[in-house]
Symmetry: C2
Subunit: 248 residues, 2 copies
DNA sequence: GAATCGTTCTCGCTCAGTGAGAGCTGCGAC
DNA sequence: GTCGCAGCTCTCACTGAGCGAGAACGATTC
């Protein structure tokens, strides 16, 4: 069972990038000597790092392995030029997300100085039902994913969050029909978003590309064509990329 | 011992992003059933991914953990604006690397369409003795690192590669004295580079920032001040970032 | 339908991993 | 300088979690 190693690695998070031995033992529930032994082995491999008697941090070997994740690194490298194009064209926040379980996982974001601060962050997760990219991903997920989201209950973030299952189903049908999703102040008051699907080599939706802006700064519907264009270009580039890596 | 899990993860590389069960067993030397069991557990955690009976790939949980590595993600986020500035100013390849063991590990690179193709790649590794960023990192490493590089033998990549220990030591002393390192066709014929150190909160050199260009395109020495400026700006931003994260 | 290869799954066996506790280190108070 | 405390490091007797051979299953090719 790899559960002890997994527990150690899962102890780290965006707000806890560095943890002492005692922290790790407390968080994981493992005995201190077990924690020490496993952490030392992870340091020897490079998965964790530690300066003399300082706290443990995620090491470069895990960073390196992370760059090998096709749905992280490769997707992002292929999508980045189109995200930059979309940013140049709109000067709004650009997000690229994939579905991971029952959440939207943000693979990359581009923000300018004048862009509104958003809750999304590279490596961060947000719910599927309340974000633009999330709705795109949910609309194109297997039916059991939507069932699990509905069964697990949908949290209300603002008065506008869609929490009625029927309402959500109808909205997702609209997303599939029109190829674009909107979220109006559903995750954060004042924030609007529009997102479109990114397809992989086999036509399956592998990611969503979206814009987030402040209410009053622009017309979501007028921005939709630009988002869809960037998403379609990304899809095409992914298909070319797949052919290149297959023939390697 | 985490060695079996580590062996499985180490099987993946830039040229092998997807591996079958049989591939994994062969590469790691583990029995097929052991490989199957451990790989299934990694999939359940999210460290690996697998579509139906398809190959295994690095999963988003490892990508996510990788984003938590301070020497990867945080360093890169802080350095990125200065790398972009340097790229805008010079239109040459910009590299950010850290020392990992006895190699330079590339945290990020920026290239333009007109930039020369380089051997370095985000997540890639190159030797310390034959690259600009590598010499910076080696010049500021503990003495035992240089000893290990020298004892391990230094590979010659071109007729200009510095492989004499005495020659390298003198070059590294120059790097420390002038705060900048050069590599002239030492890793690739036709490629020149200039790099400068990036310091962390305590003044220790934590990374190197460098430019790579084609022989004949520009004067390395005239580019050095721009590289040093970007490196100093990055150092200062890192120090500010460290104070922010400490007070969290 | 048979052969082959790759994958999945079971379960008897055993040794690799466990974790209590002793020892060590660093720090602050007095 | 000494003492107490907290955190960390290390050892080793013990045992049950992990191991992996081999049977069963599925896909592909002939």
């Amino acid at each position: 069972m790899i559960s002890k190693v997994v527990a150690l690695l899962d102890a780290f998070g965006p707000t806890t990038p560095e943890l002492s031995l005692g922290d790790l033992a407390r968080i994981t529930g493992l005995p201190v000597s077990t924690t020490y032994r496993l952490a030392t082995e992870l340091v020897e491999w490079g998965g964790l790092e530690r300066a003399d008697r300082a706290g443990y941090r995620i090491g470069m070997r895990l960073w390196e392995l992370g760059t090998l994740a096709p749905r992280g690194g490769a997707l992002r490298e292929v999508a980045l030029p189109f995200m930059q194009d979309l940013f140049e064209a709109t000067h709004e926040n650009v997000h690229l997300a994939v579905r991971d379980g029952l959440e939207a996982l943000y693979v990359d974001t581009i923000s300018g100085h004048e862009s509104v601060r958003t809750r999304s962050r590279r490596g961060g997760r947000l719910p599927l039902h309340a974000t633009g990219v999330g709705k795109v991903l949910l609309a194109h997920a297997p039916p059991e994913v939507l069932a699990a989201v509905v069964d697990g209950g949908m949290r209300r973030y603002t008065p506008y969050t869609m929490v009625a299952p029927g309402h959500l189903r109808r909205a997702l049908a609209e997303v599939r029909r029109h190829g674009v999703a909107y979220a109006r102040e559903e995750i954060t008051l004042g924030s609007l978003s529009v997102a479109a699907p990114v397809q992989g080599a086999d036509g399956a939706v592998v990611a969503a590309l979206g814009l987030v802006l402040t209410r009053g700064r622009g017309d979501l519907r007028r921005l939709a064509p630009a988002v869809r264009t960037a998403a379609i270009s990304t899809s095409r580039a992914l298909q070319r990329h797949a052919r290149l890596t297959e023939s390697s």
